[in-house]
Symmetry: C2
Subunit: 257 residues, 2 copies
């Protein structure tokens, strides 16, 4: 399994919730999974009840020359690990600007050296911030694939064109091997027509949209307040079933060549 | 009324929805209101059914030396105008880095010259992107006040500390007069305990939290798909009533000296 970036510049669409819970579902299926929190908000880190030790966060890996392997923490779940984030990352976009080949900094940190991190795990999932700045570009340049969480809302549709153009640009200039693994519809509220219309519209434009749709479920938004994945918090909930189904779909549908 | 930045690095908390609908409610109360879309997603622009004409967007005002007054569009609502955004803005964070006094570029554009734009309107509301990068810093440096939309979700709580520290930093280094006008709770879902807990927690830490709470209402998320404010789309809806109440509360509670 490859390095997968979870990206969408639209905010609040379920990037972090998907990284944590899809990661946990893959880990439960025997995959050795590493999560990388690349967002200064550090929601993936706190959502697992963790904090970055001083000098050993994704900021330090990117800008402080700390080897990525030294920043890895156990996530408190079998087969799941995390490189935590810290608020220092909010300055990274500006600090990366003068760097040589500034879009490749993360790729080098994950793939170079004697024991590249990307080879030590079955899957490496990157949680991106809600922007198309240098941090997200670094994730897209380091990744083999990208998964786009899309909220079932009108405003979430608007940005997909811009995101698709950015992926094209990254493929042309920075990372020719980058594949779109799929779009995953999130926070589907069966009581509204809007959600169904948005899903239909997205499926029409992007055939790679996963069959699995993640329902809106308050249990998913409660779990991070306990520092737990949805499986540890409420394994029988619709949210847990949906992320389990998404993991099965991902494992059954091999990456495009 | 001052220049007010609507900022929160957490994504999807209701920044754009609040700028459009609070702006419309203030306009309905006789205030001449200018909205400024400072997000490359351009949701405030498309949410009003508008598009930036070539060379006359907030990107051109910031980086292209176009006078701000030339980028103003009528918003199709009495007393409401907009400076639209364009996708070019997604490169602005990087392009602003080498500029002299790069955090003051927007402040100069809005406040300098013979006929400063900030004096021509009763209120100037800035929709910020979900980050604490140079665009948001420019908005906070140009603003007299900041309003923070906070979604009634646990993960939205996490970032408030970092946002408060950023406001302190801006006040100390860039804009000593910046005031926190208030926090507005959004997407309150009365069916969940989580929402009530989050509201209570936020009120405890931030006494400036508005009394008005914006409920979760699908009508609010449908309105932008028609390019309409909530008042034009469904004036009797709970969302419309809440934003009207917020406008009344804002007008009744003068800015702190
Ligand atoms: N399926 C769901 N049902 C209900 N709530 C959800 C669901 N998925 C995510 N949430 C909640 O919605 C909010 C936004 O989700 P999340 O933070 O994962 O999005 P994000 O895209 O990572 O946001 P950001 O752009 O700020 O990084 C969070 O409070 C989260 O707990
Ligand atoms: N009170 C509400 N009830 C229901 N839906 C809402 C409400 N407020 C906003 N929304 C919807 O939630 C989504 C997020 O809101 P919005 O886009 O305004 O947030 P934002 O903070 O501007 O996001 P971003 O961080 O991407 O700029 C949108 O699809 C919007 O239509
Ligand atoms: Mg996130
Ligand atoms: Mg917005």
């Amino acid at each position: 399994m490859p390095v997968i970036a979870f990206a969408n510049q639209k905010g609040g669409v379920g990037k972090t919730t998907t990284v944590i819970n899809l990661g946990a579902a893959l880990a439960a299926r025997g995959q050795r999974v590493l999560l990388l929190d690349l967002d200064a908000q550090a929601n993936a880190t706190s959502g697992l009840g963790l904090r970055a030790p001083e000098g050993r966060s994704s900021y330090d890996v990117l800008l402080g020359e700390v080897p990525a392997a030294r920043a890895v923490l156990p996530a408190g779940v079998d087969n799941l690990w995390l490189i935590p984030s810290s608020p220092a990352l909010s300055g990274a976009d500006v600090e990366l600007v003068p760097r040589e080949r500034r879009e490749y900094v993360l790729r080098r940190a994950l793939r170079e050296g004697e024991a590249p991190l990307s080879a030590a795990y079955d899957a490496l999932l990157i949680d991106c911030p809600p922007s198309l700045g240098l941090l997200t570009l670094n994730a897209l340049t380091a990744a083999d694939e990208v998964i786009i969480p899309v909220q079932c809302e009108y405003l979430a549709l608007e940005g997909l064109g811009q995101l698709a153009r950015t992926l094209e640009l990254v493929r042309r200039e920075l990372n020719p091997a980058l594949r779109l693994r799929g779009l995953v519809m999130t926070m589907y509220d069966a009581r509204t027509n809007l959600a169904a219309q948005v899903v239909e519209e997205v499926r029409r434009h992007f055939p790679q949209t996963f069959q699995t749709v993640i329902p809106r479920s308050v249990r998913l938004s409660e779990a991070p307040s306990h520092g737990l994945t949805i499986f540890a918090y409420d394994g029988a909930s619709r949210g847990a079933q949906a992320y389990a189904a998404l993991a099965d779909e991902l494992l059954a549908r091999p990456s495009a060549p």
